[in-house]
Structure formats: structure tokens, C-alpha cells
Amino acid sequence: MIGFDLIAPHLPVLTVVVPLIAGFLTPIIGWIDRRLPWYWVVLAMFVVLLIAGNNLVTVINSGTIQYKLGGWDPPFGIEYVIDLLNGFVCLIIAFIAFMVSIYSKESVKKEVPGKTTPFYAVFLLLITGLMGMTITGDIFNFYVFLEISSLTAYALIAMGDRGDGVVASFNYLIMGTVAASFILLGIGYLYAVTGTLNMADMQNILPGVYESKVVLAALAFFMVGFSIKVGLFPLHSWLPDAYTHAPSTASALIAGLMTKVGAYAMIRFMFGVFTPDFVINTTQMTNILAWAAALAIIVGSVLAIAQSDIKRMLAYSSISQIGYILLGVGLANMIGMEGGLLHLLNHALMKCALFLVAGAIFYKTGIRNLYQFKGLGKKMPVTTTVFLIAALSMIGVPGTVGFTSKWYLALGSVDAGQWIFVFVILLSSLLNIVYFWRIFDNIWFGHPHEIENIKRDEAPLTMLVPMVILAVLCVFFGFFAYYPVHYVIEPLSEALLGLGGVLSR
């Protein structure tokens, strides 16, 4: 391909730059024709997906990619580093964003009437922020991208339900600001002791100053800050409202990605800025995290049972699922870590599919109360089948992605000798059955009052295609989990835990 050689070395930075520029061009495109932004976003997301895929393949084949911004050498200049961890997360982001962008066409038109152009502009900037957070190797640059993604997320949520959406957005803003400020403070502390902002450089310097209380304080600030960002119980208060009242498309995007990137950041800071030995043994941070996560798993599931709004229920389920990821990380052994990382991918697929389904049902019927879903199985067979598959996946039925992560997490807990976590995981899957099965009962066994009038009335094709693809992937990776595990997650877990292999450099 002509010109590809010219672009190839800049692919890492293009992951961030493409959505950024596309985002700023969106208003112009929308000014030309109001139907165009959708095509524009899909195109941009497709390009990003290709780049992210290419990045990950390059990393798998030939190791970590380093990109010096403006040609400045690290640790002085900003450096973008793509290793297995963020290459993997980037691909998840790009893929989910691509799916959601296809889906968004009709949904956005209906739920954010007249504001499609700004919606898409902000959509792209959100992806920019998430990509930047993931890809950067500079700790302050990370903070900037964190704020970009937060600000855009506030805007997206505020476009949702009249009134409620704005209040949810405001509450999120306050919590998000606290979190970001804590992170900023932590960065300041680390800078004060190490005098560098480059993550890899910092990791080299830090072990020499571990006695300093400042380092401990920094770690604590980071953990609290990220806990707010991922919605780890009991710092989850912003999350249910935000997920519930955002437009369906934004809910899917935020639920699928924001918390994943937060979890990624937590992993990166624990194992890529601090050293594994420090967080696991010296400070016992992973242990604390594991217990907090176990609590989140149970509380999230129990609260989900109490909900009648499907999106709110899914939001509480997210709180519990984030617990799965962090429990795996907190177990801090090989298998647990694999489970946590695998669940990053798995949960993104499942939860995104579920939120898309909730959006499609809302689009067609205007219903979000799950007790009113009666007879939907006849009206929207494809959508409800996707729901069935994704929900079974959440429950952890074998043959779906949920099972593979559950397997690893349970096994990891046994390996760590933490039997109580095994019970937590198993209990949670029972609770998942409780809150999903009542929806199944309503969809397929419930009798609406006017049973004769149910006609097939499916969501439009642009909505169905991404949902079906996600559902298929939920099953595909349930059987073929070998591939992500073997190529990415196993070497990655080894590197993260410092058992061999290299994470970056």
C-alpha cells in the first residue's frame, strides 16, 4: 500500500489522534448534512479498530512498541508505550466502540433528537480519552486523558433522561473530580520523590525510596481515586444513576469501557508504576483489594436483585462484575490474574451486549421496567435471544465467556487458599441467576394482557447486527478462550506479577 510505510511508525499515536481529529471535524461534517456524522463515526471507529488490531499483533510478534512524542527521548518527553496489557485493552476499546457506533444510528436519533452531531463529537472525544489513558506511558499525560474521558462522559450522560440524566451527570462530576484530584495528588507525590513522570522510569527509581511514607500515601491516593472511577463498592454511588439515565448508546459505551479502563489503570499503576513485590507483599494492597472486590461482588448482586429498571439492574450488576476483575487482580497469583484480565474482555462483551439489548427494547417499546417485558419473546425474538445468551454468560454457564473467567477466578482463589472467595464467586453466580431469570420468565413465559396482538416487531438492522456479533463472540470466546489466554493473557500475567517475561522494555 502506498504511503503505509510512511504511516506505519506513527500507528501508536494514531490510535489517539484519529478519534481526536475526527471528533473535532464532526461538527463540520454535521453542518454539511445531519445524517453524515454517523457514517463518519463508524468510519473513524473502523480505522481505530484496524490500528488497534495491528498494534496488538505487532506487540505479540515483536514485543513492546515505544513511540516518542515529538521525538523527545524519555524520560524527558512524553512516551507512548504499547505492551501486551494496553494493546489488549486498546483492542477491546476499539472493538466495543466500533460495535456501539454502528448501533447508535437509530438509537441516538430517537433519544437525543436534534443533538446527534454534538453527541457524536463527544463520543469520539470520549474514545480519544480512553485510548490516551490506556496507551500513554507518561503519568501526567495519563491524568489529562483521564479528565478528557471524564468530561466527555459527563456530557454524554447529561444528554440522557431529562432532568435525571443531568443530575446523575452532576453527581458523577463531583465524584469524578474527587477521584481525579486524588490521582493528581498521587502523581504529585510520586513526582516529588522520583523526579520523573515516565512510568517505566518511575518503576526503576521507586524501589529505592519505598521506605518513604510519601510513596505509601501516593499508592493510597491512587487506589481510592481509581476505586471511585471503577465504581468499586462502597465508592459506587455515582454509577447506578449515571448508567441508568444516560442515553442507551452512551450507557453501553460507558458501562462497557469506562470501568474497564479504570480497572486497567489500577492494574497499570499497581504493577507498572509500583512493583509487584511492593503491592503484594510490602503493603498488602492486593489483599485489601481482593476483600473489597469480594464485598462488591456480593453487594452488587444483591442490590441488582432489588431493581426493577433494567438499566439500573445492569448497573448494579456491573458493580459486582468489576469486583470479579479486581478480585482476580487482588488474588495476585498467576491463575487469578489471568481470570481478572480475561474478565476485562469478557465483561466488556457481555455487559455491552446487555446494555445494547436494553436500549433496543427501549427504542421499540419505551419500556425499561422489567416487569413489563411480558411477551417480548414473541415481539423481538432476535433481541431477546441476544439477551438470553449474554445473560447466561453473566451467570457463567459453560460454553459462554462468563464460565471461563469464573473458572479461572475460582481456581485462582483455591490456589491462593482463599476458600471464602470461591464461595463468593459461586454465590454470586447464583444471585445472577436470580436477577436474570425473572426477566427470562417475563420475556418468554409472561402473558401480556393483549396476547393476540403481539406481532413481530424487531429493532432495525443497524441495532441488531452489533448485538448479534457481540452475542456470537460471547459464545465464541466461551469455546475458544484458548487464543486470548495463550497469546496475551498468560504472558501478560507472568510479566505483571514479575514471574518472568517483560511488561515494557
Binding site: 471461563t404 483455591v414 459461586l426 413465559f445 402473558h447 475458544f480 484458548y482
Partner: protein, 496 residues
């Protein structure tokens, strides 16, 4: 020596009904075509299973690895004598149940028939999948699939009662599933594998005794499909389902999958030696004995015929597990042989009960006075099944009872012998009244001869005849006893 032959046939046998399920769904608007698919799939499936039989009878096993799901954890099939025993039973009976279902569903003009046949086909795939699983994870995959695919069948009526029974069914079986998963994880943790082996998984004996006992208990909770006594409540509750579903639950797939799993765990995970050394077998034997007796007593108290049959199943299933934990070759033979034997007899009984519902609209035994005058063929078939359950020659049941008694006698266990005899008496006590009421009580009003439709009548007559044939000629070449002997030889490492 056991040769392993690599062949895709087991996968095909599992997939046939999955593909059929899709076709059923696609042709939902054309009932004849839809049910045509079911029939075609049933015959192909049985053919595929039977085609593997000659190799198995030679003492070989057939293996096939579908995909490596996770590193070291493949989805794989391995057909051995014990597996094919269950596969033949369920795939053969599917043919009859299909025919019977069509008759039943059409005469009652049931709703949602497409969903019904769809789930039925999936359930059959799962049953055969369980039979052919080469390791615990594959088995768990199909075990859960079976639970999920049978839920819509149990809750088929969509009434609040049906749904609450369905919930009960689901609750029990999902807790079982979780418990089973836990046990599998622990096994994998200690041994690094989940693959079944004739002498038990290597490395199991390294597990400390206490953990081993806990592990065994969680496994047995995981086998709640086998309806051991404290975990049996789902089975009578599931009786709200249409009768062919009950037949499926009791004879073809679900409970048989439960006992099959229990036996797989006892013999192929723990292994005969470990069971004996750890002494678990004795406690398990007493435990299931309690179920045998108690369930029979419960059965006595039921007036609803289907419920009485349900408790009878609970009791009979424990025979199978009892046979397995006796560990002696005769006991094992009796236990394994009871899987197909009980299936044939119980399915006959259930199909008769269903015929009574469809034709005479009678569910309670007290209403069945003189019903034999109206439906003589059905009631004769019922009598055949009942005699088999009691253990009267020439119907099949006596063969397995004989082996079980031999097994108990070898152990000189007076208690177990007594249990078997008392249970036979109790069986008689709850089946003879039904026969007596049906044949000899005077009906309240004049009854005219009116049998169930042929699609229902033929299957139940055929299974009744087979129940007699397997009793008269149990050692026919290639029949169940042959297969069981190979399976027992595999497990014990020698002949009978």
C-alpha cells in the same frame, strides 16, 4: 488392552439434535415438517450411537477432542462402554418419546409446541453429550445445558404453578451446578486434570481425607439431578410439566444424567480403590439406602399417579448409586444395568399415565376405578412396567435386583440386603393398588372402550415389550448386559 480410536462420530451424535433444534425453530410454522425433523434426527442419532457399539464391544474406546477451551482444558469426547450404555438408552427412547409427544401435544392442542420440540432436541443433545464427555468440564458444560434446556419444558404451561415449579427445579439444579463446579475446580487444583480414567484420576489419593470427604459430598450435591433424598423435592414439583416431559425427566435424560454423573464421579474420578480405601462407599451406601426406603414410603402416600411414579423414581435411582458404591463387580453390574432397565420400565409407566390423562382425563388413582375396561392395552402395559419395578420375573427389573442382592450378599451386609427386600415389598405395596383399582374395582359409571391415539399407544406398547424382552433374555449378544460387563471390567480391572 484398550485401544483409543479417534473418530468424529461422537461429536456428530451430539450435534445431530442441535442441528435438528435449529431446523425445528426455522420450520415452526409447519408442524408436520417440524416434527419430521425431530423424527429424522432421532433416528440418525440412534444410528450414529449404535454404529459405535461394535467397537465398544470389542473393548476399544473412541475419542475426539473438539476444541481446547482453555490451556489444558479441552472439550473432548470419549466413548466407553458405560457412556454408550447411557447414550443408547436415551437416544433409543427419544424415538418413542417423540412419537408419544406428537400424539400428546396434538390431542391436547398444546401451545408453544415449537419451543417444546426445540428444547427437547437440545436436552437430548445434552444427555448424549454427558454420556460421551471425556472430562469433568465437558460433562459440566452439557450438565448445565441440560438444566437450562429443560426449564422451559418444566414451566411449559406458563401458569403461576408451572413457573413456580420451574423455579424450584432451577433452584435445585443450579445450586447443584455450582456445587459441581466447585468440586471440579478442587479436583483440577489437586490433580491438574479433569479427565476421567478407568481407575480414577491419578493424584486423587493425595488429597487429605477431610477434603476428600467434603469433595465427595459437594460432588453428590452436584448430582442433585439424581434426586438423592434431601435434594429430591424438585422432581415431584416438576410433575406439573406435560407427561412426555416427565418421561424425559425420569427415563431419558435428566435423572439418568444425574445418576450417570454420580457413577462417573464415583468410579472414574474417585475410582474403585479410593472409594474402598477411604471408606466413603459404606456411608454412601447407607445414605442412599435411606433414600430408597423413605422415597418408597412417600410414594405410598400419593394419590396423584404421576407423583407416585415420581417418588418411585427417587427410590429407584438410589438403587443405581447403591450398586455403584457396593464396589463389588456384581453390585456394579446391577447398578449400571439398572440405568437402561429402569428407563424402559419407567417410561412405560409414564406414557401410560399420560395416556390416561389425555384419553380419560384422570390423574388420581382413586378416580381410576375400572379404567382397564376403557383402556385395556394401556393398563396391561402399565402392569408390565409395575411388575418390573417390583422385580417380578419375567419383566426386566428382577435382573438388576438379582445382581444388587448378589453384590450386597458378597459384602455380607445384612442391612443392605434387608433394604433391598423391604424396598421390593414397598414397591409392591404402592403399585398393586393401582393395578387392583384399575382392573377389579367397579367403575362409577359405564365406560366405553377408547384407547389413546396410535402415536401414543404404539410407543408404550413397544417399551413394555422391550421391558419383558430384556428380562427374559438379558444376556443376548450386544445387549445391555454385554455392555455393562465391559464397563465393569474396565473399572475393576478384571472380569466378573
Amino acid at each position: 488392552m484398550v485401544t483409543e480410536i479417534n473418530s468424529i462420530t461422537p461429536l456428530l451424535a451430539v450435534l445431530v439434535s442441535m442441528i435438528a433444534a435449529v431446523l425445528i425453530l426455522a420450520s415452526g410454522k409447519y408442524p408436520n415438517l417440524r416434527e419430521g425433523w425431530t423424527f429424522v434426527a432421532a433416528f440418525i442419532k440412534f444410528g450414529l450411537v449404535i454404529s459405535m457399539l461394535p467397537l465398544i464391544l470389542k473393548g476399544d474406546v473412541i475419542t475426539y477432542t473438539v476444541v481446547e477451551m482453555l490451556p489444558d482444558i479441552p472439550i473432548a469426547f470419549k466413548v466407553d462402554a458405560f457412556g454408550i450404555l447411557f447414550a443408547i438408552t436415551s437416544s433409543f427412547l427419544w424415538i418413542f418419546v417423540t412419537s408419544y409427544s406428537i400424539g400428546y401435544m396434538r390431542s391436547l392442542n398444546e401451545h408453544a409446541q415449537t419451543r417444546y420440540f426445540f428444547c427437547f432436541a437440545i436436552a437430548l443433545s445434552s444427555a448424549v453429550g454427558i454420556a460421551f464427555s471425556a472430562n469433568l468440564v465437558t460433562l459440566f458444560l452439557f450438565y448445565e445445558l441440560l438444566t437450562i434446556s429443560t426449564y422451559p419444558l418444566v414451566a411449559h404451561n406458563e401458569t403461576p404453578e408451572a413457573i413456580s415449579s420451574g423455579r424450584k427445579y432451577l433452584t435445585y439444579l443450579m445450586i447443584a451446578g455450582v456445587s459441581l463446579l466447585f468440586a471440579i475446580v478442587v479436583v483440577y487444583h489437586y490433580t491438574g486434570t479433569t479427565e476421567f480414567s478407568f481407575s480414577g484420576i491419578a493424584g486423587m489419593d493425595a488429597i487429605p481425607q477431610t477434603t476428600l470427604v467434603i469433595l465427595f459430598v459437594t460432588f453428590m450435591i452436584g448430582c442433585a439431578k439424581a434426586a438423592f433424598m434431601p435434594l429430591h423435592a424438585w422432581l415431584p414439583a416438576a410433575m406439573v410439566a406435560p407427561t412426555p416431559v416427565s418421561a424425559l425427566l425420569h427415563a431419558v435424560a435428566v435423572v439418568k444424567a444425574g445418576v450417570f454423573t454420580a457413577l462417573r464421579v464415583i468410579l472414574y474420578v474417585f475410582g474403585v480403590d479410593l472409594m474402598q480405601d477411604s471408606g466413603i462407599w459404606l456411608y454412601m451406601a447407607y445414605f442412599v439406602s435411606i433414600t430408597i426406603i423413605l422415597a418408597s414410603i412417600y410414594a405410598l402416600m400419593q394419590d396423584n399417579l404421576k407423583k407416585r411414579l415420581a417418588y418411585s423414581t427417587v427410590s429407584q435411582l438410589s438403587y443405581i448409586v447403591l450398586g455403584a458404591v457396593l464396589i463389588t463387580p456384581h453390585g456394579l453390574t446391577g447398578g449400571m444395568l439398572h440405568i437402561p432397565y429402569h428407563a424402559f420400565m419407567k417410561i412405560t409407566l409414564f406414557m401410560c399415565a399420560g395416556a390416561l390423562i389425555v384419553t380419560a382425563q384422570k390423574e388420581n388413582i382413586s378416580e381410576m376405578k375400572g379404567i382397564a375396561r376403557q383402556m385395556p392395552i394401556t393398563m396391561i402395559a402399565f402392569t408390565v412396567g409395575a411388575l418390573g419395578m417390583i422385580g417380578m420375573p419375567p419383566v426386566g427389573g428382577y435382573v438388576t435386583k438379582w445382581f444388587l442382592l448378589l453384590g450386597a450378599a458378597e459384602l455380607h451386609s445384612m442391612i443392605l440386603i434387608a433394604v433391598l427386600l423391604v424396598s421390593a415389598v414397598l414397591n409392591a405395596a404402592y403399585f398393586f393398588p393401582v393395578i387392583y383399582v384399575a382392573f377389579f374395582k367397579k367403575p362409577d359409571h359405564e365406560l366405553k372402550y377408547k384407547e389413546a391415539p396410535l402415536t401414543m399407544l404404539i410407543p408404550l406398547v413397544v417399551t413394555a415389550i422391550i421391558s419383558i424382552v430384556i428380562g427374559i433374555w438379558p444376556d443376548a449378544p450386544g445387549m445391555f448386559l454385554d455392555i455393562v460387563e465391559i464397563a465393569v471390567a474396565n473399572v475393576t480391572g478384571g472380569g466378573i
